[in-house]
């Protein structure tokens, strides 16, 4: 069911009883039409969002890598896996990683990719999750990034599991520098239909963290405590 017409009419009637009355703080709209709202833009958008992104991402505890080629990117990911003792990644499929040859490249180095399919059946799902839970590195491809806040943007979809950026303790995201924007409004203005791409659009700003116990900052509470952004500079 959608919202009942009678409920909507009642809401409208309640809103209307405030219209036309004196509203000292302007909190009741006088006109029954939506006002046009223009969002403010950042004053001086940096021409180069890479350096603000690096500063922000690193200050949150993330690591930034630079790859000049696909081969570079593959060896960076492999090095992260090796130092974690990981022989498997929970990964997006190759076309969505934006690095040609990465799956084969990693396989030659002894690292297999799991694409994280979850069955709908209850017990199969739990068993599968327990298996995925043991993978230490997740690999994703970012749809964009935001310099001001140190944020990477991921969109779920076929071949793009949500869990790759969530379940393993280490998350590596591959990011083409051409997809960087200065601020969130700049990004959304450039990609207005970004939320249509998949059932989950997530903005990730640094490692998972909590300060619930005595305001003491701790990383990696539910999501990854270690986050790597591999900036890919090649075409």
């Amino acid at each position: 069911m959608s919202i009942d017409e009678a409920i909507l009419r009642q809401l409208q009637a309640r809103i209307a009883r405030g219209a036309g009355t004196h509203a000292p703080h302007g909190h009741q709209a006088a006109a029954p039409t939506s006002v046009v709202i223009t969002p403010p833009r950042p004053r001086a958008a940096s021409a180069d969002p890479v350096s603000p992104f690096t500063t922000a991402w690193e200050s949150l505890g993330g690591v930034v890598h630079h790859a000049q080629s696909a081969a570079d990117a593959i060896s960076i990911v492999a090095a992260i896996c090796r130092s974690a003792g990981a022989e498997q990644t929970l990964s997006w499929r190759e076309p969505d990683l934006g690095v040609p040859g990465i799956v084969d490249g990693l396989r030659r180095l002894g690292i297999e990719s799991d694409y994280g399919w979850l069955p709908a059946d209850r017990s199969e799902r739990a068993a599968r999750l327990a298996e995925l839970e043991r993978i230490k590195v997740g690999v994703t491809g970012a749809s964009g990034a935001i310099g001001e806040s140190g944020t990477v943007v991921l969109v779920s979809g076929p071949g793009r599991p949500r869990l790759a950026s969530l379940l393993p303790p280490i998350h590596v995201t591959l990011l083409h520098v051409s997809r960087m924007h200065a601020s969130l409004p700049d990004f959304l203005a450039a990609e207005p239909t970004i939320a249509d791409g998949g059932s989950n659009l997530v903005l990730i700003t640094g490692p998972s963290r909590t300060a619930d116990i005595e305001m003491t900052l701790t990383r990696g509470v539910h999501g990854p405590g270690h986050v790597h952004a591999v900036l890919v500079h090649s075409a």
């Binding site: 959608s2 919202i3 409920i7 909507l8 009642q10 809401l11 809103i15 209307a16 009883r17 405030g18 000292p24 703080h25 909190h27 709209a29 939506s34 006002v35 709202i37 969002p39 403010p40 833009r41 922000a56 979850l118 709908a120 739990a126 999750l129 839970e133 001001e148 779920s156 979809g157 071949g159 793009r160 599991p161 949500r162 869990l163 969530l166 969130l184 409004p185 990004f187 203005a189 207005p192 939320a195 249509d196 998949g198 059932s199 989950n200 659009l201 997530v202 903005l203 700003t205 998972s208 963290r209 909590t210 619930d212 116990i213 005595e214 305001m215 701790t218 509470v221 539910h222 999501g223």
Partner: protein
């Protein structure tokens, strides 16, 4: 439940609790200074706040339209929309979804609305085990306690309190609780098994996007993402006022929310969900994970009554908690003293607005009207104005306390009889003169001692105004 008279008792007890005071001071100072620092380096911050306010005002003024648009868009995406007129309706909707799917275990990410409607009690009664997964909320649940802050639920607990609790209620070892990092790791491991075993994820929603039918959950820990991804069914509870028109407006709200709440430019995870997992018969064209079903329960529970009235502005609130941290009353008494799910200045308006002045009539008095809440509010809600409106309403509905009624009547009797008034003034001045030392009275007798227990009272001037006036008139 809370009685009107007990608010003062709880507040007095909290103010006298020196360990609580230290914890409150640490938390509110940290949160306030983080917020300030993040706005100081954000030149367009004030303009973005104005913009955020305009968005909220537009939404509340056209809520019927935006809600219809939201519901339609969400259904287009394959989600289910439910309308809950009351808290009890919302509980029975969620319970019914759980029962229909044979759900035995549910994981939950932080939701103030679920606290408001006491969802956990309802689900437990229906035989569903509910596990809170936000670290602070899990602690609250293990301790059978209540959150004391909107975004930092356990600021009233020390690390030692939590270590003891983990050992006694969650089977932690001495090693597991040796420091905060270990305690956090313990919670991660324990709650991972809960996520995997859960049939249903229950969350709140910070925002609903009308144009796309998306809901947005903001968390730092990531439990909000796990709750909405791992179990087969996701049920989100959302107050009907939490709508924004489109994704661009959502971006604006996310920016002011994160900075106001914790001083972060954005929270770690802004998780935007547009319908359930998208699948087709072809696995390679289907999303590999996510819930197969998504239900959004729109919770009214008194909110629509506020539309078009003098308290409608409280519906602009985005629950950042900045007004709690800034409030001198909250800083002194903490969240529990308010006796309501929503503490602090926002709670002092919202709780009586939603649940009436009967039980919560004292809350609008819990303010010095200093305006700090309005100053820090990301959408500039005029909380002091509404506190005054509620005080006025309280006098109209319930009447003023007896001592004020009789006191004002006695004053009126004296003030309208010149001879009596002059006598009363002289008598008071003489009495105060006896008590005063160097122009100040440090201790007043009887019921008046309440005033001097915390501050001095000035002695009256040597000559009354009337005397001065008369002699001045003679000089001219």
């Amino acid at each position: 439940m809370s009685q009107p008279v007990t608010f003062h008792r709880r507040a007095a007890a909290a103010a006298a609790d020196t360990t609580l005071q230290a914890k409150l001071q640490r938390a509110t100072t940290r949160l306030t200074s983080s917020r300030q620092a993040s706005f100081a380096v954000w030149p367009e911050g004030d303009a973005v706040r104005d913009h955020a306010r305009a968005i909220r005002a537009d939404v509340i003024a056209h809520l019927d339209r935006y809600l219809a648009q939201f519901a339609h868009a969400l259904e287009q995406r394959g989600g289910y929309v439910h309308w809950a007129a009351t808290g009890a309706d919302a509980v029975s909707i969620v319970t019914r979804i759980a029962t229909e799917h044979g759900v035995r275990r549910a994981v939950k990410s932080k939701s103030m609305v679920s606290e408001e409607i006491r969802l956990n009690d309802g689900l437990e009664a229906a035989g569903v085990t509910v596990v809170e997964t936000d670290l602070g909320e899990w602690v609250v649940q293990l301790a059978h306690d209540h959150p004391s802050h909107i975004i930092a639920p356990i600021i009233h607990k020390s690390r030692e309190d939590i270590a003891e609790l983990f050992k006694s209620a969650a089977g932690a070892s001495e090693d597991d609780v040796s420091d905060v990092a270990h305690m956090t790791a313990f919670a991660r491991t324990r709650l991972r098994t809960e996520f995997i075993d859960a049939d249903m994820g229950i969350s709140g929603a910070n925002f609903g996007v009308a144009e796309t039918g998306s809901i947005c959950l903001v968390t730092n820990e990531g439990n909000g993402r796990l709750t909405t991804t791992v179990p087969r069914i996701h049920v989100a509870l959302m107050g009907i006022e939490r709508i924004v028109p489109n994704i661009e407006d959502l971006g604006t709200m996310l920016r002011v929310l994160a900075r106001s709440a914790t001083g972060q430019p954005l929270s770690v995870y802004s998780n935007i969900l547009s319908g359930p997992r998208r699948t087709t018969d072809d696995e390679t064209l289907s999303e590999p994970d996510g819930p197969d079903e998504l239900h959004v329960v729109l919770v009214d529970n008194g909110r629509s009554e506020l539309l078009g009235g003098e308290l409608a502005e409280i519906l602009y609130c985005i629950r950042c908690g900045a007004c709690l941290n800034a409030c001198p009353v909250y800083q002194s008494i903490g969240g529990h003293a308010y006796g309501s799910v929503y503490p602090g200045p926002v709670g002092a308006v919202l709780t009586p607005a939603l649940q009436g002045l009967g039980v919560f009539g004292e809350l609008p008095q819990a303010s010095s009207l200093c305006g700090a809440c309005r100053e820090v509010c990301p959408v500039r809600i005029d909380i002091p104005r509404m506190l005054l409106a509620l005080r006025r309403r309280s006098v109209q509905e319930i009447g003023a306390p007896a001592w004020i009624r009789y006191g004002m009547r006695a004053y009126a009797a004296a003030a309208t009889r010149p001879a009596l008034f002059r006598f009363a003034v002289r008598a008071s001045r003489a009495a105060l003169g006896l008590l005063a030392r160097r122009g100040w009275v440090t201790r007043l007798p009887g019921p008046l001692s309440g005033w001097t227990s915390t501050r001095d009272f000035p002695a009256f001037a040597k000559r009354t105004f009337q005397d001065q006036w008369r002699s001045g008139a003679r000089q001219r």
